[in-house]
């Protein structure tokens, strides 16, 4: 998209707050009954403050690792960057073709064949049919699924589906890559192949943002790390220092 310009993500005092309803799937029936009986909503909703005034600039060439305890706001931060969650307050700006790989493997349609799912996944990530056409063969080759290309995905084993999902997601060239927990599935031969491909994908992208609980990954892939605590950035610096501080803090 903007190949010449510098890619960046910039968050300015971003806060994210949302409600979680104790009863998911509210219904009209329930609402009417509650109104008639003049009852307060049976189960109250709780408000979650996922991010509190996060200001962060990620620029060209940066590989940012996000660490922190569960519920500290790591995934929320990633989803705000990906536009999946709109911030409650604050501003976000970004430039560059951004691809979030958050939960790889969902979104396939079991009724459709492997090839048709490649096109569908491509479209979801913003590629037209023509653009995907030249990628179909490399994807099938890498996933080692050529002979099952026209089989509906519902007949795939879970390993095959994962291989296909991973291969499609990593065939594209994102400028900004958002990754949530690098996964590893399949036999040993596959893991080695997948790792090399992931490395190549990261090398191709201008900006990487990686959320992980595996400190080795953060230290291996990233050149900057932030430690999230209670929706705020508690520490920002070189990965070894931040990881050491987090380990020390977590041990306390």
């Amino acid at each position: 998209m903007t190949a010449v310009n510098e890619r960046f993500i910039q968050l300015d005092d971003v806060s994210l707050r949302f409600r979680i309803y104790a009863t998911q799937n509210r219904s009209i029936k329930e609402t009417v009954v509650n109104l008639l009986l003049r009852r307060q909503y049976g189960k109250p909703s709780t408000e979650v403050q996922a991010l509190r005034g996060v200001t962060l600039a990620v620029g060209e060439g940066q590989r940012l690792g996000i660490i922190g305890d569960n519920g500290a706001g790591k995934s929320s931060l990633l989803k705000v960057m990906a536009r999946i969650y709109p911030p409650t307050s604050g501003r976000i700006e970004r430039r560059g073709f951004l691809v979030p790989l958050l939960e790889i493997g969902i979104g396939f349609n079991g009724e459709l064949s492997g090839v048709e799912n490649i096109y569908l996944t491509g479209a979801i990530m913003g590629f037209g049919r023509a653009e995907m056409k030249q990628r179909v063969d490399p994807i099938l080759d890498f996933a080692e699924l050529r002979e099952h290309a026209d089989t509906p995905v519902k007949y795939y084993s879970s390993g095959m589906a994962q291989r296909l999902a991973f291969s499609v997601a990593t065939e594209i060239d994102p400028e900004i890559l958002l990754l949530d927990e690098v996964f590893s599935v399949g036999d040993i031969h596959w893991i080695e192949k997948a790792k090399a491909r992931m490395q190549a994908l990261i090398d191709r992208s201008s900006i990487l943002v990686l959320v992980s609980h595996q400190m080795e990954l953060i230290e291996q892939y990233c050149n900057r790390a932030i430690w999230m605590q209670g929706g705020r950035i508690a520490m920002d610096g070189p990965p070894p220092e931040v990881v050491a501080a987090y380990r020390g803090g977590a041990a306390r």
């Binding site: 009209i28 999946i84 958050l102 979104g107 349609n109 979801i124």
Partner: protein
């Protein structure tokens, strides 16, 4: 975001939309050509049953054609709105891992059904033409306007239904019940008014007009105004016109059944209802669009 920005963004997602629509159609009509013909079976069967039963009651000239020209648009409308209402919650897993302008999903629901609608209307008319005494006329050139009206109306209502269903999950059942009732208050299986431009009504009915209607179709509490043999008394017809679907269906009755372009008043009415509903639906949808993800 302003409405213009939202529309520009939607345009950027046209490939996604196209892909969703074609894949969903592929799944629906999987078994090649036969798949589509199976989907003609439902309207065909309804046509057969209703026209046999109701032609005993009304004796309307070319009743099967009248029925078809209203029933097929109705079936599109009902299916489109019901699919719209499920479209956002059905896309939950996708919405959790990728940003979309959410309108893509109700839009796909409408477009998918539109394809089936156009095809089944054409095929049914072509195949049944000799049996239902149907000939295309120049008034057919008007049909694109009819499609625009009913598509805009369905999308407006569908967008509304999609948002409401996110917050009230039992809405889908209510919509199904509501659609069932709505069908009967819309002049589809009965005519609201005589269709003067059409080939004259059957002799039996014209003859019946001055006297008491011989069929049981006319309610006993007929109005003081001279009855014309149609099931709905004159005094009540104005209330039937409060139903927006009356206006949409008229856009199909006139060109297909009567072979004439609808009156200017009818076109203006249908267009303003359709555009008004679409604008209202989009306004509500866009107001909630950003918040929807937290309610899924």
């Amino acid at each position: 975001m302003k409405a213009v920005e939202r529309i520009v963004e939607l345009w950027r997602f046209r490939e996604v939309t196209k892909n969703f629509v074609s894949q969903n159609l592929k799944i629906k009509y999987r078994r090649s050509v036969l798949g589509f013909f199976w989907s003609l079976l439902n309207p065909l069967l309804q046509l057969l049953v209703i026209s046999v039963v109701f032609s005993l009651l009304f004796h309307i000239h070319r009743f099967a054609l009248y029925l078809l020209s209203g029933l097929v648009p109705w079936m599109f409308f009902a299916a489109a709105v019901q699919e719209c209402s499920m479209s956002i919650i059905g896309a939950e897993s996708m919405l959790r891992r990728q940003y979309f302008p959410k309108l893509v999903f109700p839009l796909c629901a409408v477009l998918q059904n539109l394809v089936a609608f156009v095809l089944s209307l054409l095929v049914l008319l072509a195949v049944l033409a000799p049996f239902i005494d149907f000939r295309p006329t120049w008034a057919w050139a008007f049909l694109p306007v009819s499609f625009v009206c009913i598509v805009a109306f369905a999308l407006g209502l569908g967008a509304l239904a999609a948002v409401v269903t996110v917050y009230f999950r039992d809405m889908q059942h209510l919509i199904a019940v509501f659609m069932g009732a709505w069908f009967y208050v819309t002049p589809i299986i009965y005519p609201l008014e005589a269709h003067p431009q059409a080939v004259p009504l059957s002799p039996r009915m014209t003859a019946a007009a001055p006297q008491t209607p011989p069929t049981a179709a006319a309610p006993a509490s007929g109005s003081a105004a001279e009855p014309d043999g149609l099931p709905i008394p004159r005094d009540y017809r104005v209330y039937f016109k409060l139903n927006p679907m009356y206006w949409m269906v008229e856009m199909f009755h006139r060109p297909i059944y009567d072979g004439v372009v609808p009156s200017r008043g009818a076109i203006a009415g249908a267009l303003s209802i359709a555009v008004g509903t679409l604008l209202l639906g989009l306004a509500v949808f866009w107001k909630f669009e950003d918040r929807i993800i937290f309610a899924l």
